[in-house]
């Protein structure tokens, strides 16, 4: 057993876990942060992706003891951080994933979102090719990736104040629901 001091989503947390446990196991089965998913447990799928010091990393390959003293961000951390920063509702990228239908079964998406978030932080207006490459470590079995690309593009475009490119299934205009932060008030016509 190891006693660990971890910095997760800004919280200092003390936890004991078997020496050989990975960060993923500690997050899921000790801290109850089950948003990070396990799809393979051996570095093949990307479902367990978290950010360690701002970089997307596979939590299933990171030994928990080696993560002490580093800033760990999991999917559970995005919305509170956005609210702390004065935003409304979920992080705009999370919101964009929902608005674009990118979350089918959703199992790959916590990891996908953290990879995408890291991409937008280093490249706020990425090309589709850049997006493809940034997400290549996150397998998604449901979407065929298209709506994920669209979500990243939508979030990037709105952050830049641009209109997003319409999808093939709706060639004329922007079919997506308004963002949470811009949702019409109750009673307002939809």
């Amino acid at each position: 057993m190891a006693s660990l001091l971890l910095n997760v989503n800004g919280d200092q947390l003390e936890v004991t876990a078997p020496d050989h446990w990975t960060l993923l196991e500690v997050l899921r089965y000790r801290l109850g942060l089950t948003g990070s998913k396990q799809g393979c447990d051996k570095g093949d799928c990307g479902a367990c992706t978290v950010q360690i010091d701002g970089e997307p990393q596979l939590a299933c390959l990171a030994l928990a003891t080696l993560c002490e003293g580093r800033a760990i961000t999991t999917i559970e951390g995005l919305m509170p951080a956005h609210l702390r920063a004065g935003g409304k509702g979920p992080d705009p990228l999370q919101d964009a994933f929902d608005r674009c239908g990118a979350l089918q079964c959703g199992f790959c998406q916590p990891g996908m979102l953290l990879s995408a978030k890291a991409l937008l932080e280093r490249s706020p207006d990425p090309s589709r090719d850049e997006i493809r490459h940034a997400l290549a470590g996150n397998l998604c079995r449901c979407t065929g990736y298209t709506q994920i690309f669209q979500a990243v593009e939508l979030a990037a475009a709105e952050a830049q104040g641009r209109a997003p490119t319409p999808p093939a299934w709706h060639p004329d205009g922007n079919p997506w629901m308004p963002a949470c932060s811009k949702a019409p008030a109750k009673g307002e016509s939809r």
Binding site: S36, K42, A47, Q94, F97, Q104, G106, R132
Partner: protein, 807 residues
């Protein structure tokens, strides 16, 4: 088949919704939808995006034990004895169970119960489940597995269906009651019309042999189940399943419990694609272990174990002979199919029928024969994968159609148009076709891909290929015969203004709960945020048969309309009474209820609901759906009979590297007739996901069982599912045909759009380099071999540039 339902003008190939539907009256709001037809958010989208959604492995119960399963290292062996005493003695181990603890056989198809929760007398593939351990943690459980001693008598094994047929003396499932059954799992031979004569009469007859290699679902969430037994003996099972109802029935049978003492819940599900539509060993094992230990028990399979659970797409060897006249009309099709079933039946009876029954559209041929044999082998059991039983024959046939088009010098799209079956008709095997938007699909892919300007004219190595398909929207074959509804719905409405929908339907990511919400919001004129969905919990929800055969939107959707419309009438009736006006003057919509003749008289939905609750007491309604009587009048004629069929066409743009054999996919245009897109964003997601999955199994994925029966690469690194970089640009083109019986005209969108992907690639490769690929998968090595055999290489490339003179 009531063509009068289709009154009204046609616009851009779209029939406008008629004034009445199968629920007796038309939608009260005509076709001025408020919610339906819009890109609405999903009910659980933000929960999933923020990590709040609870999947099975996210469930932690106090005192929970962890279970693991011991698997067979032999492909075929008799179990002489199992000694569990050392494992039981290991500190931390709470229970060990074997097949003897649950000896009753089961199978998802009640006619073929050939599975045991844990092996009883024999193991039949490497990975077959033998014993299970519950311990304090996974490490202890794994250590205990190593202490279980199994004495096996190793038997000869079959890995090739032809061998399994030729050597019936090595029998995988012993059938003393039917000694000559050998290793045949199911045989179906059906003939419609005089095929031999029709092929005689044809101007050209083509014959070809095609091969499908087998693939697996690979959902990102591995199978997981948690069980708990309450002190009064009620068993609750949370499971990553797409068929709560069938799991419920199977648990009752195998554990010898009353169904009323079992509750099955499907938490959020991390993908399934057919791979979670059988009852699995882990579900029985955790239930039994929870009963034995009195503690909650969880079992999570590793990725490797998911590959053994399999139930993936059947390998098939397909032989097709088709005749065509010079005018481009098909005369007949003769098919012979050998199906490698793996070690158990699973859905195999249905697969065997589907391999022939689902080919008879959208292209019509007046005579048809198929002869399909499913054979047991000592490999992980095959089952239903997205496009169950029909992706393989569709591949073969659509490639052969391309060959036929060439033989009669017709454009392949034109050939399909010329042989289109039409709408409101019957197929050669007696299936009823209602709406049919296939021509619209062909038009769309032809236009979007620039087919006329580009096909046959791209530089050597690049080409376009087309293919089409048809798929069921649910089936009237209810797996176990009964007269009860296939889908049931309950809705509760109360003074808070909230509607809660209870559905047994399984949302496996496809968004069926969101469809329920949209329909209730539409019918009751509520804001979708004021509709909540409770799903897939056998204690709370009316029975639904589950997420398979693309039935949920169609059947659950219709049941939801049924229930919601009853509630709507309760509310409008109560308001009418209060206002002393005829009921038909009261309209519910946009969060309000108002008098159609006096718009100043309006109250909020919530107020109206309160009036209704005061008048009628507690408000609720149930609704249900059952298929009409369908199917051909012959044995097996109802298998493949669906209340509606969806249609798809693909054009794929592929580039072949003649030096490496690698196929690079650039674009895939998917046009799909989904009847009506209740939520076009979700429909597009299904289309793109389907196309992706089909393209992947053509060029990348190989479910490879080696000659010892060992899975050659049970990991997501070896079983190569495409990354974001491997996936081509997917263009979803929605075509709406407005089905007369679908909910608001909707049909399925989750499986049909997969089918044409595979043959379209083969056809594109032919356009690119003039080589026919008839055997899947199109791995670089296989493609290179085919190119070499046809004399196509870097040199040929030089010789054949620049003109498209290669054919």
């Amino acid at each position: 088949m009531d063509a009068r339902l289709f009154e009204g003008p046609r616009e851009r190939g779209i029939t406008l919704m008629a004034a009445r539907d199968q629920h007796g009256v038309g939608a009260p709001f005509g076709d001025r939808f408020q919610v339906v037809g819009r890109a609405e958010r999903k009910v659980d989208g933000l929960a999933k995006a923020t990590g709040q959604a609870v999947y099975t492995d996210d469930i932690q119960l106090p005192g929970m034990l962890h279970a693991k399963i011991l698997r067979s290292p032999h492909a075929h062996a008799r179990i002489r004895s199992i000694d569990t005493s050392k494992a039981l003695a290991l500190p931390g181990v709470h229970a060990v169970i074997t097949g003897r603890d649950m000896p009753i056989k089961y199978g998802v198809i009640p006619w073929t119960p050939d599975e045991n929760a844990l092996a009883l007398e024999k193991v039949r593939f490497i990975g077959d489940e033998v014993a299970a351990v519950a311990a304090l943690d996974e490490d202890t459980a794994n250590a205990a597995l190593r202490l279980i001693e199994v004495d096996y008598e190793v038997l000869p094994a079959h890995f090739d269906p032809k061998d399994a047929l030729a050597k019936p003396e090595v029998q995988i499932h012993e059938t003393p009651e039917k000694p000559d059954r050998g290793n045949v799992s199911k045989h179906v031979r059906l003939e419609f019309g005089d095929v031999d004569q029709a092929l005689e009469d044809a101007d050209v007859v083509l014959e070809g042999h095609y091969r499908f290699h087998g693939s697996t679902h690979a959902p990102i969430e591995p199978h997981c189940a948690v069980a708990q037994v309450s002190p009064d003996g009620v068993l609750t099972l949370w499971s990553a399943t797409q068929i709560t109802h069938y799991v419920h029935r199977a648990l009752a049978r195998v554990l010898e419990l009353k169904e009323s003492r079992i509750r099955v819940i499907q938490p959020c599900l991390g993908g399934a694609f057919g791979g979670k539509s059988d009852p699995f060993a882990l579900e029985f094992a955790v239930a039994k272990l929870a009963m034995v230990t009195g503690r909650p028990v969880k079992m999570l399979w590793t990725r490797e174990e998911v590959f053994y659970a399999h139930r993936g797409r059947h390998p098939m060897q397909l032989h097709y002979r088709s005749g065509i006249r010079r005018d481009g009309k098909l005369t007949g099709v003769d098919a012979k199919i050998l199906i490698d079933g793996g070690s158990y039946s699973s859905f195999g009876l249905v697969t065997t029928y589907y391999s022939g029954q689902l080919l008879t559209g959208p292209v019509h041929f007046p005579t048809y024969r198929f002869d399909s044999t499913r054979v047991f082998t000592n490999k992980p059991p095959c089952g239903p994968k997205r496009g169950h039983g029909s992706v393989q024959p569709r591949f073969a046939f659509e490639v052969q159609l391309d060959e036929l088009a060439e033989a009669v010098a017709l454009d392949p799209i034109e050939l399909r148009r010329r042989n289109w079956q039409g709408e409101h008709t019957h197929t050669v095997n007696g299936q009823r076709i209602t709406s049919n938007g296939f021509l619209g699909c062909l038009d769309e892919v032809e236009r979007a891909s620039g087919w006329r300007e580009r096909r046959g004219k791209l530089p050597f190595g690049r080409g376009l290929g087309v293919a089409g398909s048809m798929y069921i929207s649910g089936t009237n074959y209810a797996i176990y015969p009964n007269d009860m509804p296939q889908a049931g719905i309950q809705i509760k409405l109360d003074r808070s203004g909230l509607a809660t929908v209870f559905t047994g339907g399984n949302d496996i990511g496809q968004g069926s709960n969101s469809v329920c919400r949209a329909i209730v919001a539409e019918e009751l004129g509520l804001d979708p945020d004021d509709v909540r969905v409770v799903a897939a919990d056998t204690d709370l929800c009316p029975v639904d048969l589950g997420a398979y055969s693309s039935r949920v939107t169609f059947m659950v959707g219709n049941a939801t309309i049924d229930a919601a419309r009853k509630l709507r009438r309760l509310v409008t009736g109560a308001v009418a009474k209060k206002w002393s006006v005829p009921e038909n003057r009261i309209f519910m919509g946009r969060g309000e209820v108002f008098d159609l003749e006096d718009r100043s008289r309006a109250i909020t939905s919530r107020e109206a609901i309160q009036i209704a609750e005061a008048l009628h007491d507690t408000l609720g309604a149930t609704g249900s759906y059952n298929t009409p009587k369908l199917g051909g009048d012959y044995r097996g004629g109802t298998i493949g009979a669906s209340p509606a069929y969806s249609f798809t066409a693909h054009v794929v743009e592929a580039e072949v590297d003649v030096e490496t054999g690698r196929i690079h996919l650039h674009n895939c245009w998917v046009a799909h007739d989904c009847g009506r897109a209740l939520n076009p964003m979700l429909v597009a997601g299904q289309m793109e996901g389907s196309a992706y999955m089909g393209l992947a199994e053509a060029v990348m994925e190989v479910h490879d069982i080696n000659r010892f029966g060992l899975h050659a690469g049970p990991s997501l690194l070896d079983y190569r599912i495409p990354t974001s970089v491997d996936t081509p640009e997917l263009h979803a083109l929605i075509v709406e045909s407005l089905d007369p019986e679908g909910p608001y005209g909707a049909k399925e969108a989750g499986e049909g759009p997969l089918h044409p992907a595979l043959p379209a690639i083969s056809n594109a490769v032919y356009d690119a380099v003039g080589v026919r690929l008839r055997e899947l998968p199109f791995t670089p090595a296989a493609v290179l071999r085919a190119l070499r055999a046809a004399g196509v290489g870097p040199k040929a490339r030089a010789a054949q540039q620049p003109e498209g003179a290669r054919r």
